[in-house]
């Protein structure tokens, strides 16, 4: 154990010991520990093996800022050990090692580094060409960090939260808490975001009592504070995005105060990556908050005054600590195998070795300006502190605290060439040697160096290495830090789970009032827009047969349904549709397709006139909301005295189809449903099975049929009533697949399936529905143009002599070139033939002409049929 005596203000509760597992070995910890502090408390500084060279790495920053301590926790990969709270029986596994992190045989890569040059993927295994497919699987297995569990560790659910505070403070350190309290006291609603689990920032690590005072003051002033919620991006607006626990926070504030503080930076020297090399804040946090002594014999390199404080803290807690002044004795190299054992300081000619088990790099800090840059702030290089600080901020933004710069540190020289590996970027294992090599190869801008070497592109996104990489980049390209280009700051600033980014994207799933019966009947379902609709109940051929021979029932509740009323309702409809409605008698029904102003068919359905100033129209399932918007749009523009009410969810609807359907109807209603009283394209309102119903004599499937609309609440009841009444007549439910076969036998088109974004009524074979002997309507001007011209291609029916129907989209070929396409095709048992619809060149659109369809590796001969395949005169439909 490396626990010191109890520290004032520590986070752990020594009265509550808990235990967890590290690589299967039981370790003890205290409540309040993080995985990282618990590991350090148990003397385990080694946290992982490095990305490329499999070198041992250890706890480094303790603030979630570096990428050194990514572990797998209960199957969840790449969790930062230093910030994840420890829980009883947690299974923690160290990553990127085989067989174990302490005995990693893949360490061989450290010896093979000559074979892993900068730009590895651009250089190696490309020639001869057969090599890459052989080595790729091996590289894939070895590369990358962590392993995804086969199944999600926990069902991902995250909420999207929109917040609109008057003041947003990013950062809950000393400056953020103070600024937040001030804003709240002036009466403004203030929200503060902190990425760590506790507030107080750096102050918490050195003086918990002072931090608590600031937190209390901010809370009393009324600041709302979200911890463990890092702001990860500033977007247009400005919109600040923050990743909370199971929530994506989208924040728009009147004013944004950036109190993002500064980031502790490492120094570059040989073996600067050994476990036991740590940043001062990590040591401060371990000692003060967790009572952990990460070493018993420390050397503190004091680049800034903080080093002396850290050394004193270590000594007070019972360790030995030697302070080194890097101005007089710079670090030459670190020594050690799996852990640091000593450090050489001084100059190459006059150096000394100091034995130690902990090397603390103290006082190198860089302002955390990334979010500010994303927000549009301009930075300038401040030579006195050797750092980039915010210069010009956009309106409505302020920056406070150490993000504006701090005390000047003793800046180490850019790394000189040396024996052994010295890392500029720990996450991606990029050494100074690789940077030199890349610059020699001509990658002399920082952006290019970054892309070529993957420098700063690891899990920490440059937090721990930006300054040292800039410094070396500047030196290697003979530029100053003012001149050197800096990589663009981009979101995300911290790692964000994909589940949080996807928060709030819910997929609607609609079920009709009759859904439960489809389930009971064992239906296979399919998506139809947002709806779950039955695809079939049993063999679709049997369902077709029932409709043709007896009677079938289909749930069409998902149709769009609109009640349109008003004194100018006819004017509205005659503008929206190319058809005429002024002459439509009350009670009559007419087919209608809506066009846009280019004359393209948008959607189709039926239009029933229920009264002088009352119409009931239907749209397709998938087109409902688009048509709703479309109608409201034109109504808003034209400002007619008419109202469009979407009653789609208010009504359940079924279609009762087949030669026996009239007899079924007669058992259910007192309405006169005879051929004379209710002929084809007529409607009636009355009671059916004792509930109010609207009955339309229309059909998509080519048999005598009734479309019945009832209030949704009665949908299930009416379905049952019809099925019961139809029992004696052999009624069967039928579903979408059967309906598709049946409608194809009639050559009834499906808009969006048989038509596309260029289909007008002339090409689609519906010229009869366009009426020019009326006032202006949508699409009129364009159709006047197309009418005068020859249509280049037409939608036709076809039949084909083949075993299999051609797939939808199959090409129609002529002289080896594609000239058209199949939009629908099915085998009809009734017709004993394959039938379909296809777009063909107009020259082919004549009865009996033949064309070739390419599919299944061969070409099949199809014949054009311009009339319905089934019941071409429509006698059954109108019976």
């Amino acid at each position: 154990m490396s626990r010191a005596a109890a520290q004032p203000g520590e986070r752990i509760d020594r009265a509550q010991p808990i235990s967890f597992y590290l690589d299967g070995r039981r370790l003890s910890a205290f409540k309040g520990d993080t995985v990282g502090s618990a590991m350090a408390g148990a003397g385990e500084l080694l946290t992982a093996r490095s990305f490329k060279y499999h070198r041992p790495r250890g706890l480094y920053c303790m603030t979630g800022s570096c990428g050194n301590c990514l572990v797998t926790v209960n199957g969840e990969p790449n969790v930062r050990a230093c910030t994840r709270a420890v829980e009883a029986d947690l299974q923690v596994t160290r990553q990127n090692a085989w067989p174990t992190a302490t005995h990693d045989l893949l360490r061989i890569f450290d010896r093979l580094s000559f074979a892993l040059p900068a730009g590895f993927y651009y250089k190696v295994f490309h020639k001869p060409r057969f090599v890459w497919p052989l080595v790729e699987p091996i590289i894939r297995r070895v590369a990358g960090l962590g392993k995804l569990p086969g199944v999600p560790a926990s069902p991902a659910h995250a909420d999207r939260v929109n917040l609109h505070p008057e003041v947003l403070v990013i950062g809950g350190g000393r400056a953020g808490l103070t600024a937040g309290a001030q804003a709240a006291r002036s009466g403004r609603r203030t929200l503060l975001l902190e990425q760590q689990a506790d507030l107080g920032g750096r102050l918490r690590a050195v003086d918990p009592a002072a931090a608590d005072q600031l937190v209390t003051a901010a809370r009393n002033a009324g600041v709302e504070m979200l911890t463990s919620t890092p702001a990860f991006g500033v977007f247009e607006g400005p919109l600040v995005a923050a990743a909370g626990v199971d929530a994506l926070h989208r924040i728009r504030a009147g004013e944004i105060i950036f109190a993002t503080g500064s980031l502790e930076q490492g120094a570059v020297f040989p073996n600067n990556d050994l476990p036991g090399v740590m940043l001062a804040e990590a040591v401060d946090r371990l000692v003060t908050l967790y009572g952990v002594l990460p070493g018993s014999n420390a050397v503190v390199v004091a680049y800034g005054s903080q080093g002396h404080d850290t050394a004193a803290r270590l000594q007070k807690a019972g360790a030995r600590a030697t302070v080194i002044d890097p101005a007089a004795e710079p670090v030459v190299r670190a020594k050690g195998l799996q852990r640091i054992s000593g450090v050489v300081v001084g100059h190459p000619t006059r150096s000394r070795l100091i034995a130690c088990d902990l090397l603390v790099l103290a006082g190198l800090r860089a302002p955390a300006t990334s979010l500010l840059s994303q927000a549009g702030a301009r930075l300038r290089f401040e030579a006195s502190i050797s750092a980039f600080v915010p210069d010009e901020l956009p309106d409505g933004m302020r920056a406070v605290g150490s993000v504006m710069g701090g005390a000047p540190p003793i800046v180490p020289a850019a790394a000189a060439p040396a024996d052994g590996k010295q890392f500029v970027c720990l996450c991606m294992d990029v050494t100074d040697k690789e940077m030199r090599q890349a610059v020699e190869e001509g990658f002399d801008s920082t952006e290019l160096l970054k892309r070529y070497t993957t420098l700063t592109m690891g899990p920490c996104q440059g937090k721990a290495c930006l300054m040292s990489s800039l410094r070396l980049s500047a030196e290697l390209t003979q530029r100053t830090l003012v001149e050197v280009d800096r990589p663009t700051a981009r979101p995300p600033w911290t790692t964000v789970p994909l589940g949080v980014l996807a928060a709030g994207h819910l997929v609607p799933r609609k079920e009709t009032a009759i859904h439960v019966r489809h389930l009971e009947a064992g239906a296979e379902f399919m998506w139809a827009g947002d709806w779950r609709r039955p695809h079939h109940y049993r063999d679709p051929r049997q369902e077709c047969e029932a409709v043709h021979q007896r009677v079938g029932l289909i749930d069409v509740s998902s149709l769009g349904k609109f009640r349109i009323t008003g004194s100018q309702v006819v004017t509205l409809l005659e503008r929206l549709y190319p058809a005429r409605f002024g002459d439509l008698k009350v009670g009559r029904v007419r087919y209608g397709a809506m066009l846009n102003d280019q004359g393209v068919i948008l959607d189709d359905g039926t239009v029933a006139r229920l009264g002088d100033e009352e119409f009931f129209i239907t749209t397709t399932t998938g087109g409902t909301s688009a048509m709703d918007q479309w109608m409201r749009w034109w109504l808003a523009d034209w400002r007619l005295d008419a109202r469009v009410v979407n009653v789609s969810s208010g009504y359940a609807a079924v279609n009762l189809a087949g030669p026996r359907s009239r007899e079924v109807m007669q058992r259910l209603t007192t309405l006169d449903v005879s051929r004379e009283a209710l002929p084809y394209l007529m409607s009636a309102r009355g009671e059916l099975a004792g509930v109010p119903a609207l009955v339309l004599r229309i059909g998509f499937v080519g048999e005598l049929s009734y479309e019945i609309h009832v209030p949704s609440a009665y949908g299930l009841y009416v379905w049952d009533a019809i099925m019961k009444a139809g029992q004696d007549f052999g009624i069967e439910p039928f579903a979408l697949e059967a309906q598709r076969i049946l409608r194809l036998e009639k050559q009834h088109i499906i808009v969006g399936q048989d038509t596309d974004a260029l289909s007008d009524p002339y090409g689609a074979g519906l010229p009869w529905m366009v009426k020019f002997d009326k006032d202006d309507f949508l699409g009129r001007r364009s159709l006047e143009q197309t009418r005068a011209r020859e249509t280049s291609e037409r939608l036709v029916g076809f039949t084909i002599d083949a075993e299999q129907p051609p797939p939808e989209g199959a090409a129609i070929v002529e002289a080896g070139r594609p000239v058209g396409r199949v939009t629908s095709s099915r085998r009809s048992e009734t017709l004993k033939a394959i039938v379909g619809m296809a777009w063909v060149p107009s020259a082919l659109a004549e009865e009996g002409k033949t064309f070739e369809i390419a599919y299944n590796g061969t070409r099949a001969h199809a014949r054009v049929v311009l009339h319905p395949f089934y019941d071409p005169q429509g006698t059954r439909l109108r019976s």
Binding site: E236, L239, R250, D637, D641, S782
Partner: protein, 101 residues
């Protein structure tokens, strides 16, 4: 794209609640020339600056309205109902009270 739109009915809401209808343009009267028709169908002014646009509050009151949006900044300068539209942008189709073409 991330900004707020002030619906004249519902107030300021996230842009994701709305559908965009494109820039307001003039529908040609019947009988005009085809250049005018093509311009209406296929050409947009695409200004860099404030432009009058149609917006629909899809996840709200389901009403269409106009917004003046600065295309450079996505700042919505004003929103108003179609009936409050300035005469210059009035619809070309016959509306109540106007003589029919």
């Amino acid at each position: 794209m991330s900004f707020l739109v002030s619906c004249p009915d519902c107030g300021r809401r996230e842009v994701g609640e709305f559908s965009y209808g494109g820039e307001s343009n003039r529908r040609p009267k019947p009988g005009g020339d085809t250049t005018e028709l093509a311009r209406y169908l296929f050409f947009r002014k695409n200004v860099a600056g404030p432009q009058v646009e149609w917006w629909f509050h899809r996840d709200g009151c389901q009403q269409w309205f106009f917004a003046v949006r600065d295309t450079r900044t996505n700042h919505i300068e004003a929103t108003f109902w179609p009936e409050d539209r300035p005469l210059a942008a009035s619809p070309s189709m016959p509306t109540p009270g106007e003589p029919k073409a």
